[in-house]
Symmetry: C2
Subunit: 241 residues, 2 copies
């Protein structure tokens, strides 16, 4: 007898998370521009652990404890922070073997919302294939959770969800009856021949460009820059062991 | 000087509505399978007004007052109701010049959620072109509001949102920086060459088929069956005057 296939769903916004929540899920949090791309880059460059925080107050308190703090609000580096939230700030010479506090709104919130799940990992184009292969080996249902922007819908997160879903379904171990997965696969099919061209029409591209923060967009859409898989454990993000 | 263009947004689920709500909006409520297709069909066939209700208790109370009541829960006709929620039930011989109580969960809820707006109208493929032309004449921002299914994401509602957005943007009077509009246009571009073929993969198709209620799916995706535009006024749905 064949084993039953594993459930695959995609949640397009934190506003819809409660409809997808399940303790059995492995949840992949996705915030392509820029939180989850930055977290993957930081761990790739040797950061020992990332402490995700939601509020400016938490970030400031951690700074006072002596941590290196990356923190922006609305695209502007906070005055007490060591640097901002771009993946380009997390170079090996600055961050190797360090513990870093990373302040995000959406990304941190989604990680904490999903903390009841079997596991919470961080996904981006940068670790796409390694992440897909790891998920295929876990024998658990998967929820791809798009952090999006202010509870709306985000094009780049959804396109990534399609890229990941394609790999998971191709393994034959997963199945889906989730329209969000279906739509993400179709959007990925349109985007994949020229991903950087396609993503130019994403609203977040315009928001970052208006603040001069769009230099990392091409980098954030580069598949398989790293094989690191950040996992949420005891309040921190560390490479999966 | 050119006039500023009008805002066009799409809300993919009631769970995200608060992020899009604006008193200035004309809101187009969309529930292709089946509420808004049925409402358009009913008014086309001469129903004088539709009284949308949310709960079984409200529907039963209206039945006791002598109204004709269309009411289902989970695809099964309630025992006190005159008929179910399929558009095929609303034939002219049964409904012409009548006042009908129509019980839906998602559709009614969305209409009431949006009642603060400048106007709330009902959209479906059945009244696509008439609705688009009417909206183009109104000089107001438009929010396309997908009723979806249980606060998730719905493929058929989103594809319709793309079809309507295409017409509105082609008029030159609207502009958008909403990723949900962008995604809906792309999904519509994939679906439109064979809409009935494409929609076979929608989850709601499977849910209706499991209850033998999928006979109306092709009808519900037929563009421009009618030029009626249902508008919400004083608690009822009536043809726009």
């Amino acid at each position: 007898m064949k084993n039953a296939k594993l459930r695959l769903e995609t949640c397009l916004s934190p506003a819809m998370y409660s409809k997808h929540a399940n303790d059995d899920n492995i949840v992949v949090v996705v915030d392509i521009l820029r939180a989850t791309s930055t977290i993957c880059t930081a761990l790739h460059n040797g950061v020992k652990r990332i402490i995700p925080v939601s509020t400016v107050e938490e970030a400031k308190a951690k700074k006072d404890e002596g941590y290196i703090v990356a923190s922006e609000r609305d695209g502007y580096v906070l005055d007490f922070a060591d640097f901002g939230n771009s993946p380009f700030n997390f170079t090996a010479d600055k961050v190797k073997d360090k513990e870093i506090v990373y302040s995000t709104t959406n990304g941190t919130r989604c990680i904490h919302m999903a903390a009841h799940s079997k596991a919470v990992v961080v996904g981006s184009f940068l670790n796409l294939t390694a992440l897909a292969n790891w998920l295929i080996g876990q024998d658990s249902p998967v929820l791809i959770f798009c952090a999006s922007w202010k509870d709306r819908f985000s094009l780049e997160d959804t396109v990534f969800a399609g890229a990941l879903a394609e790999k998971l379904l191709a393994s034959g171990k997963f199945e889906t009856i989730c329209d969000a997965v279906t739509a993400s696969l179709d959007l990925w099919s349109l985007a994949s021949p020229d991903l950087n061209g396609y993503i130019q029409k994403a609203a977040q591209k315009g928001r970052l460009a208006a603040k001069g923060l769009d230099d990392c967009i091409e980098f954030c859409h580069q598949p398989d820059f790293t094989s690191v898989i950040p996992v949420f454990a005891d309040g921190d993000l560390v490479p999966v062991s």
